[in-house]
């Protein structure tokens, strides 16, 4: 048996085969994407060729070698075809004519490859292995092969010119790959044309496949400058580390022998050990310096952001905090815009906390619902979302979920979305627009933003807590005030009562004197004056008695006193209640409709207390309608209060006060009658005591009933039942 001599060429073929096969195995997982599929075919062609190059490279039998060579050409024929197809998909080209042409020509060459018109015979080259001896069509084939490759890269270049930063970066990788791989691959043709250079370049073909695969598969491709710097540095430094000792060993062998003697090889060995040890440190040092220079800009803002993260915790005011965050981010990183959305767990959505943009008229979306794709994605993966990546994935896989996510991100103008988590809670969402420079977001960027966002989450939680505390504090303070007033009510009411008592007495006595004397003889002006004084004093007496009832009413808050019931005329009562809110009704342009019979039987009740009740109802209605006006901005919205009353049951009068305000949400309804509960816009508007008092006065004092009916965004109805007064 003739010994099979394995040539270096054959080894290079094997190497290429193994690399491309590995790539295929890795890519199998990504089979779904068209791009990846065609690239797999490309690697298959390369692997195919590599395998047969390995085989014929070590084949000693010429006729066997010829067969193997011809088979290996099948791979070579399809290499440019799949290359062009890959670039066709990558650059999203439209004209399929040329693509189809490449496939047609490939099949023609496939048929032709077996003919001696193509490969005539084999020749022994480099005293090492057999290679193809070309005939006429071979040369044509080579020209077309090169042409297809050239056109592929021409399209690539064309696309480069009109691409964004990310795409440009990717294409540069491809060009780098070509520079490396195809220049290596060209050496394959040297033996054919009898150029006496060994086809070492084959090894480089494998690198081409690796580089381009990396560029296609990676969604977050690092900047090519980084890649070249690192690769270049690595190669240079290790070339020196390995090369210097070798150079010394071979170049200065004689001198070393003279210096050290027989064990001259110790010299190079020591030098190589020292260099190898220092190597990594030198590499890291130079790499850091180079990348610092390359990414000056990024490092600058990353440092600023880190500092900002630390300072955030000190700000207690929520509004200021979020405004500051978007301000810093937009300015430092130099973005088109940025926004921050805060979690509103009551309403199950995220609302816009603050935004900042270069453009003056920037109107970001004000709400992100809980069920939006962005929120879902963030909740599940807890990682920043890069718009370009999602877009790419959607194009590659056509996944509907991703498409929704992409659309949503576009709607909210997001180039990058960073979540702010505290433990498991998504406190806020930070939305960043594109960088003004057009550069893409690097891994470092994402890391820094994530830190910033999570620090922000803590700071926001703090600020919210602080605000809640302030509110509770305010409420407690108010409650205390009310309680104090309650205790003071006793002493105060006695004091006020005494004043009223004195006033009444004085007025009464003077009136009595006038009554006694007014029929005396006197000039008419004097009599007129006397009548005027009499009238005035009578009014004073009325006020005194009313004042007395108010005091009694005040005391009801602290304890039960005498009821002070009388027959209350409903119409009169409503008049009085409306009078207490005259200003609000006028300023809010509120329409009041009264739908009841003015001959309604009288109510058994305390006028002042009932006035308090209806005043509170009208006041609440006013607030609800103003809230609706301010929040919904409906055109032609007429705030209206309808007051209805009927004597449907013999012993009771059923009253309904209806408004078309904003209404109460379901969850809030139970809390309505508890003291201090209020949904009013600002706690300054109401102490929240209204409904509690109403219930107490109607049910406890009057023996009536209060029922509440409300629909969010429709309005509220309060049903009150009061007993009829029987004389």
């Amino acid at each position: 048996m003739i010994e099979q001599h394995i040539s270096l060429f054959s080894v290079s073929g094997l190497f290429v085969f193994l690399v491309s096969s590995s790539i295929i195995i890795v890519l199998r997982k990504l089979w779904l994407s068209r791009l990846h599929r065609i690239w797999v075919f490309f690697n298959f062609s390369v692997a195919f060729w590599g395998l047969f190059a390995f085989l014929f490279g070590k084949e000693n039998n010429p006729s066997h070698a010829l067969v193997l060579i011809r088979i290996s050409f099948i791979g070579i024929i399809f290499i440019p075809v799949f290359l062009y197809h890959t670039i066709f998909i990558l650059c999203d080209l439209k004209k399929t004519g040329f693509l189809k042409a490449t496939y047609y020509q490939a099949f023609i060459w496939l048929l032709l490859s077996w003919s001696p018109l193509f490969i005539k015979d084999v020749k022994f080259v480099y005293s090492s292995f057999y290679y193809s001896d070309p005939y006429f069509f071979f040369h044509v084939f080579i020209i077309i092969w090169l042409l297809i490759v050239f056109i592929s890269h021409f399209e690539l270049f064309h696309t480069y010119l009109k691409s964004d930063y990310k795409r440009k970066n990717q294409i540069l990788y491809l060009f780098l790959g070509v520079a490396v791989g195809f220049s290596g691959g060209i050496t394959n043709f040297f033996p054919v044309y009898n150029i006496n250079i060994y086809p070492f370049g084959n090894f480089l073909i494998a690198f081409y496949c690796i580089i381009v695969s990396h560029a296609i598969m990676q969604y977050r491709l690092s900047d090519i400058r980084v890649f070249i710097t690192r690769a270049g540095l690595f190669i240079s430094i290790y070339a020196l580390i390995l090369g210097i000792p070798f150079a010394i060993a071979f170049g200065w062998q004689k001198e070393l022998v003279q210096l050290i003697g027989d064990n001259w090889w110790i010299g190079p060995l020591i030098i190589s050990t020292v260099l190898a040890t220092m190597g990594p440190f030198i590499y890291l040092f130079i790499q850091k310096k180079a990348e610092d220079r390359l990414f000056q800009e990024q490092l600058r803002y990353q440092a600023t952001l880190r500092q900002a993260s630390l300072g955030m915790g000190r700000i207690k005011d929520l509004k200021r905090l979020v405004t500051l965050i978007v301000h810093i981010v937009t300015r430092t990183v130099r973005l088109e815009h940025s926004m921050i959305y805060l979690n509103d767990s009551q309403n199950k959505r995220f609302y816009l906390g603050a935004s900042r943009s270069r453009k003056v008229r920037f109107k970001p979306k004000s709400i992100i619902e809980y069920d939006s794709p962005v929120v879902n994605n963030l909740s599940v993966y807890k990682n920043p979302i890069v718009y370009d990546e999602i877009k790419q994935r959607t194009q590659d896989y056509g996944d509907l979920h991703l498409a929704h996510l992409e659309a949503e991100m576009k709607k909210i103008d997001a180039a990058l979305v960073v979540p702010s988590f505290v433990d498991e809670n998504l406190i806020a969402i930070v939305v960043l627009g594109k960088k003004i420079s057009g550069q893409m977001y690097s891994d470092d960027d994402l890391a820094v933003f994530s830190i910033l966002a999570n620090q922000a989450a803590l700071a926001i939680e703090n600020a919210q807590f602080y605000e809640d505390m302030k509110q509770t504090h305010e409420q407690l303070f108010k409650a205390e005030k009310m309680a104090t007033i309650g205790t003071m009510a006793d002493g105060l009411s006695h004091q006020i009562n005494n004043r009223l008592h004195a006033l009444g007495f004085i007025a009464g006595d003077i009136l009595d004197t006038i009554k006694m004397k007014k029929n005396m003889h006197m000039p008419s002006e004097l009599r007129e004056m006397l009548i005027e004084i009499e009238h005035g004093l009578s009014r004073i007496q009325d006020n005194v008695s009313q004042g007395g009832e108010v005091v009694q009413g005040l005391l009801k808050y602290s304890r039960r006193g005498e009821e002070g019931f009388s027959e209350v005329d409903f119409d009169h009562l409503i008049d009085a209640s409306i009078e207490m809110t005259q200003f609000k009704i006028k300023s809010g342009s509120i329409r009041i409709l009264r739908e009841y019979d003015t001959k309604l039987p009288k109510i058994k009740g305390n006028f002042t207390q009932l006035q308090e009740v209806f005043f509170n109802l009208i006041d609440n209605a006013y607030d609800a309608m103003m809230q609706r006006k301010e929040e919904l901005h409906e055109e032609g919205y007429l705030p209206t209060i309808k007051i209805m009353a009927q004597n449907t049951q013999p012993d009771f009068i059923n009253i309904t006060v209806e408004d078309n305000g904003i209404g109460i949400k379901g969850e809030d309804r139970q809390k309505l009658f508890t003291p201090f509960f209020t949904t009013k816009l600002s706690s300054k508007k109401g102490t929240g005591l209204g409904l509690y008092v109403i219930r107490k006065l109607i049910e406890d004092n009057h023996g009536g009933q209060v029922k509440y009916e409300s629909q969010f965004l429709r309005g509220t109805k309060v049903h009150i039942r009061l007993p009829v007064a029987y004389t």
């Binding site: 004085i506 006595d509 004197t513 006694m516 007496q541 007395g548 006193g561």
Partner: protein, 120 residues
Amino acid sequence: MPKLLIVDDEIDIREFAKNFFKKRNIDVFTASGGQEAFEIIESEKPDLVLLDVRMEEMTGVELLKKVRDTGNNVKVAMVTGVEEEETVQEAENLGIIGYIHKPLVLEELEKIVLKELNNN
């Protein structure tokens, strides 16, 4: 002439109540506190006392007790702003003709006073 004693720490009440009843030919005495009232009750022996419940040095009930303790059954009407359970009970035990609430209606006060004084 029937005699009326008005006990009230309010100066206006004393002045104008006195005015009012003087026009009705009633002899009116006034006292601003418990001690003064007690002395007048002893010396003038009024037919009716209008007694304010809440006063500074001695409460109305205390004065009433003091008076009753001397065996004096003079007619007393309590004038009060707010009803307090214990006071009501105590006063009723000591014997009063009734309660008048502040702020009062002058005509009603007139009616009550005249009725009581005429009963003598």
